[in-house]
């Protein structure tokens, strides 16, 4: 399938705090092709996290249209957004965001349980994904028993569970030492090459961004010209 996975037109995101308006995104226009490997870079406060939330359907824009895989998400309700997240988007966060009480397998299997699949089926798929990210020997451990790099591998396996169109990674190496960070980036890169999924990495680390095919630089809530 060709075409654009994301099309953002004149997107504004405005936060109102005690009567003071802050524009996190200021009329941003952006198109990302299916299968792209892109980095969004910029200093903190430049709006890159807000942009990722909007593209990841965690948030809707105050103004403008956001097409995800051709569907306008700007006026969707919570549950409709959740469905799109579940089906089309895999998240990898800086803080891994695994559920502490659950084992690696249960964490990876969780999104599939949400879409009504049984425990056994979900866990079988989770195990095959955990093997792919090199965690076959650590699958029954809880997050607290895993190293940072291992936790991020679990998160990557989880992001792949529902076979999404896009992997959105927010500072995926931010909490890792440089060697582990490189290993995680190798894994993500390998994933992109093998599956041809769209991979978008949000980072302020230019070294990391240099490894991607395209860089989108953000300043003050818009893309730097």
């Amino acid at each position: 399938m060709k075409g654009n996975i994301f099309e953002l037109k004149n997107v504004w995101k405005t936060y109102c705090n005690k009567g003071v308006e802050t524009h996190a995104l200021r009329g941003l226009n952006l198109t990302i092709k299916r299968g792209a490997y892109v980095a969004i870079i910029g200093p903190s406060g430049s709006g890159k996290s807000t942009l990722m939330h909007v593209m990841g359907c965690l948030d809707t824009p105050t103004k403008g249209t956001v097409l995800v895989d051709g569907k306008d998400i700007s006026s969707l309700k919570d549950d409709e957004l959740a469905k799109i997240r579940r089906e089309k988007i895999g998240f990898v966060f800086q803080a891994y965001n695994l559920i502490p009480g659950l084992s690696a397998i249960e964490n990876v299997a969780m999104p599939m349980r949400f879409s009504g699949h049984g425990k056994k089926e979900s866990q079988e798929k989770a195990i095959s994904l955990l093997k792919k990210v090199g965690l076959e020997n650590r699958m029954h451990h809880k997050p607290s028993e895993l190293s940072g790099g291992e936790q991020q591998r679990v998160a990557i396996a989880r992001s792949l569970l529902n076979d999404p169109e896009v992997i959105l990674a927010d500072e995926p190496t931010g909490n890792l030492d440089s060697k582990t960070g490189r290993e995680i980036m190798d894994l993500i890169e390998d994933l992109h090459k093998r599956t041809k999924k769209t991979v978008i990495i949000v980072t302020h680390d230019t070294k990391l961004a240099d490894r991607t095919c395209n860089q989108i630089r953000m300043i003050d809530g818009d893309i730097a010209k």
């Binding site: 996290s49 939330h53 965690l58 948030d59 919570d78 549950d79 959740a82 469905k83 997240r85 579940r86 089906e87 998240f91 966060f93 803080a95 965001n97 695994l98 559920i99 502490p100 009480g101 659950l102 249960e106 969780m110 999104p111 349980r113 949400f114 879409s115 425990k119 989880r158 529902n162």
Partner: protein, 375 residues
């Protein structure tokens, strides 16, 4: 998703156990108190079956509002020998049986009456576990099963009333309804013990025909000063009113206990949701719908309440056993019926679901972005 709910409950064991304790105490209170009400209701119902509907009870008129103070602090006026004579003379009265009654030990009653007339109360067919009826000339008693058990007496032993030792001649079989609670002695013997001459607390009338009941009742109530007559139906209505009051009190206490439990559940679920804000945010971020989150919170509540309620029912059986054996002298008065047990579990579950609504509402409205960023 039930496995995830159980995991969450086990994650914070202390909190889960404390909440469960709240539910257990409330349900145990309801079931244990309810068992007494149920038992008394059964007793009243079984009395209806034994006593004929064609008898009339006559007493001195009295005002319920004067019945204040501790038991025994007021006295029911006695029917005089002349009044008894007048009533017996009313046409249509076949038999008049005077009764001398005395409450003792809280639940029990001594009745002095013509033992040849016990058929009026459906007592002539009562079976004895030991001994039998005394004659009207004997200075002895036939006593109820519960009286015997609570006083620890067998046939041939003595019970003391007004410093007079009364020999036990017969003990009714267990399950004789209200007869479990009585001591029956001949009228003349009661006269002697209570130092009376032809007087009575109550007079039981048997009309020649059931059709005279209303007429006789009207004559006594309207034409005879200071007297009050009522039928078994009237008496039962009064008893039901009393057990009704007891029911309301029982369930009132249960209601207060369950309010406290409900607040406990709300606090637990609420803090649990706040503590898991990040987890709930992650769940939403990776695609959990609101109903998925709602389902999980409710599942946790239902597991908690079903387990707690079942434990409470088991505990109640234990408490009711103690109640029956220690306080009610080996009786089976307090009764846990299947309806009571099932009703209590259902109540526990409904209580928990209602208490979970607010915490669940907070949970399903967790903002995934905030939860993830702050975590």
């Amino acid at each position: 998703m039930l496995d995830l709910a159980i995991k969450n409950l086990l994650e914070n064991r202390v909190r889960t156990i404390l909440t469960a304790l709240g539910i257990i105490i409330a349900i145990t209170a309801i079931v244990s108190l309810g068992s007494i009400s149920t038992g008394l209701n059964e007793l009243v119902t079984s009395s209806t079956a034994t006593i004929g509907s064609d008898v009339i009870f006559v007493m001195k008129e009295f005002d319920f509002s004067e019945m204040s103070g501790p038991p025994g602090s007021f006295e029911i006026e006695l029917l005089s020998a002349e009044e008894i004579e007048d009533i017996t003379a009313i046409s249509g009265v076949e038999r008049a049986v005077p009764i001398i009654a005395d409450q003792f030990g809280g639940l029990f009653e001594l009745d002095g009456l013509d033992l040849d007339s016990v058929d009026l109360f459906g007592a002539e067919d009562l079976s004895f576990e030991e001994g039998g009826w005394p004659d009207n000339e004997d200075k002895a008693a036939a006593i109820g099963y519960l009286v015997a058990r609570s006083r620890g007496v067998v046939v041939g032993d003595y019970l003391t009333f007004e410093e007079e030792e009364v020999e036990v001649m017969g003990i009714f079989e267990e399950g004789s309804g209200s007869y479990d609670l009585v001591v029956l002695i001949p009228y003349e013997y009661a006269e002697e013990i209570y130092d009376m001459e032809g007087e009575a607390m109550q007079l039981i009338l048997k009309p020649d025909d059931i059709s005279y009941v209303q007429e006789i009742k009207d004559i006594i109530n309207n034409d005879m000063d200071g007297l009050s007559a009522m039928t078994m139906e009237d008496a039962l209505a009064q008893m039901e009113e009393m057990t009704g009051t007891l029911n309301i009190m029982t369930f009132g206490i249960g209601f207060v206990a369950s309010l406290v439990a409900a607040i406990g559940i709300i606090i637990t679920m609420y803090t649990s949701v706040l503590e898991r804000r990040r987890q709930l945010g992650i769940m939403k971020a990776v695609g959990a719908l609101k109903k998925t989150i709602l389902k999980q919170i409710l599942e946790e509540g239902i597991i908690l309440s079903v387990v707690s309620s079942v434990i409470a029912i088991l505990l109640s059986f234990f408490f009711v056993d103690i109640l029956n054996n220690v306080l009610l002298g080996g009786s089976n008065l307090a009764l846990i019926t299947p309806e009571l047990a099932i009703g209590a579990v259902a109540y526990g579950v409904i209580l928990t679901i209602i208490s979970s609504i607010y915490p669940a509402w907070i949970a399903i409205n967790t903002d995934p972005i905030k939860a993830i960023r702050d975590g």
